[in-house]
């Protein structure tokens, strides 16, 4: 029983990470119909920004050595600026392009970002000792819970609450929801397209920065392609949740995290190597039963 609860905590913590990544993808998709595979590389940028640019194998902390508040602020600002510049340099010029073209452009942005990191930091994966102080276990009754997992879950829920309040009660949030439903109509009613799009990139950038910090603290390692599996599973989360629906993205993110953790824990040992295959089989099953995802959005299929 104890080990089951331990697994649940693992699952929710991993689910939190996927939910944050899926939210970042879902927000941009909602406004721009862009499936932004470069979102994972924004996370990678946030991780590498912690260390001194060099091709040495040993990572030396730069921003990562600052006080936590300063480091958090700096990483958030850096990732936000990089995310905004992907829009300014690439996506902004493709506003009338089809979703397919946009997605392919996001692959291009992804590769360019990875190669830019490669030039600055080298190809080898690096170990990094960042905020290792929070990698302690605290005892709750008989359970021993990693503090970082509690922080991860708490931060995720706090951010989701904030985002929800923002979207529901502020004028910019309401404008974003309107634009996600019908971008052209929102413009007709005076919503400034560029502000809404800029906000979507800025918020998704801050979500990516959060994932950077949580993820690198947990894993203690850096690699140029570290964002790729995150974005792949988060994209799957967005699809099973229902494209164009933020609640769906969050639900999908948690589902994926729970699924992966539980498969890892309870699959027979010789099948564990095929965990991801089982996970994707489940995803296909979900989509066979509910092709539009668990919580379908009303308006994703057609829009001008």
């Amino acid at each position: 029983m104890i080990s089951f609860f331990q697994n649940v905590i693992d699952a929710v913590a991993l689910g939190s990470i996927y939910a944050l990544v899926a939210l970042g993808i879902g927000l941009i998709f909602g406004i721009l119909r862009l499936i932004n595979f470069a979102h994972g590389d924004m996370i990678t940028v946030g991780c590498y920004a912690l260390i001194v640019p060099s091709t040495d194998a040993a990572a030396q902390l730069l921003i990562g050595s600052w006080t936590p508040l300063a480091a958090i602020a700096a990483i958030a600002i850096i990732v936000l600026l990089v995310a905004l510049s992907t829009d300014a340099l690439v996506f902004k010029h493709l506003r009338r392009a089809s979703p397919t073209t946009l997605m392919i452009a996001s692959f291009a942005v992804s590769y360019v970002t990875q190669n830019a990191l490669l030039m600055a930091y080298g190809a080898r994966a690096k170990g990094v000792d960042f905020w290792s102080g929070v990698n302690v276990q605290i005892a709750i009754g008989e359970l021993r819970v990693p503090l970082l997992q509690l922080i991860t879950v708490a931060v995720t829920f706090a951010l989701m609450m904030l985002l929800n309040l923002f979207l529901r009660y502020t004028r910019y949030g309401i404008q974003m929801r309107a634009a996600a439903e019908d971008f052209r109509m929102a413009q007709y009613i005076g919503v400034r397209g560029n502000i809404v799009i800029g906000l979507a990139f800025a918020i998704s950038g801050m979500l990516a920065a959060t994932v950077s910090l949580l993820y690198v603290t947990q894993s203690g390692s850096l690699s140029i392609t570290m964002g790729v599996p995150l974005v792949l599973f988060a994209f799957v989360a967005v699809v099973i949740g229902g494209m164009g629906n933020l609640l769906g993205s969050v639900v999908g993110g948690f589902l994926i995290g729970i699924l992966l953790t539980m498969l890892q824990a309870y699959l027979p040992p010789d099948l564990r190597a095929f965990r991801d295959a089982f996970a994707f089989a489940f995803v296909i099953l979900v989509l066979l039963v509910r092709p539009a995802g668990l919580i379908p959005a009303r308006n994703t299929i057609e829009r001008v």
């Binding site: 004028r171 052209r184 109509m185 009613i189 397209g193 009303r298």
Partner: protein, 250 residues
């Protein structure tokens, strides 16, 4: 006096398809002008071009003397042109109140927008009762009212209305036209309305343009066009003699 809306030699293409082919028309301040034509005539394209949603190939669109070509839709809204689109396009997942408030965000004067909101609810009592509803749950007539009210929240001088009667019962259509005329009287709005049928608009319009195949076929004061023969001819492209054929086509 120059017209509030002045369109000259307008051409609009959707890739190869010429939807508008050399249209010139004008709407004077305070007028109710109707653009009438069959399905596919190009009516919606005309309004979308004025509101900035589609880019003309050539020609000029001037509002209050200034060109609207290559101006963004959100900027055109700020200049005082507001569109009630075909099919209403209300934000179904937003509440009725949010749909209305969003139109007011255009104004930097929050107090004025708030008092305008209150004033508008007097004109739309049905909406007032349903402020907290998701707008997607409203009936078709209520959604049309909401689309009109939302457009008026931007405090326009020119209101573009695309087929307000589409899919609605006659009684509700009457009510919507009554409300539009009320808004005109109250706020000095100028109305430019699309309809498929001239029967109704002859009653409300000052002037009418008949559009077919992307070209203006006929223009006149509504009072001069009460005898429907000229309209029928312009609308269908053949004369009263072949009216039976026209009815078959219609």
């Amino acid at each position: 006096m120059s017209a509030l809306l002045d369109i000259q030699e307008l051409h609009v293409h959707y890739s190869d398809l010429a939807a508008i082919r050399g249209v010139s028309l004008h709407v004077d301040e305070g007028e109710v002008v109707c653009l009438v034509g069959p399905n596919g005539a190009g009516k919606s394209t005309m309004l979308a071009a004025v509101a900035g949603g589609v880019k003309p190939t050539s020609g000029s669109i001037r509002f209050d003397g200034g060109s609207l070509r290559s101006v963004r839709p959100e900027q055109i809204a700020r200049l005082g042109v507001s569109l009630v689109p075909e099919g209403r396009q209300i934000f179904g997942t937003l509440t009725v109140e949010e749909n209305l408030r969003i139109g007011g965000y255009i104004s930097s004067d929050r107090k004025a927008a708030a008092s305008d909101f209150d004033r508008l609810l007097v004109t739309f009592p049905r909406l007032k009762e349903r402020l907290a509803y998701p707008a997607g749950r409203l009936s078709g007539g209520e959604q049309q009212m909401l689309a009109v009210a939302r457009a008026v929240m931007t405090q326009p001088r020119l209101l573009l209305v695309d087929e307000p009667s589409l899919g609605l019962a006659p009684l509700i259509i009457e009510q919507i036209y009554k409300t539009l005329l009320e808004l005109r009287a109250e706020r000095g709005l100028t109305l430019f309305i699309n309809e498929q049928s001239s029967a109704r608009v002859l009653k409300y319009a000052d002037r009418i343009y008949i559009l077919r195949g992307g070209q203006i076929q006929l223009e006149g004061r509504a009072s001069d066009l009460r005898d429907g023969d000229a309209i029928r001819k312009a609308y269908f492209g053949f004369s009263a003699g072949s009216q039976r054929a026209a009815e078959n086509v219609a």
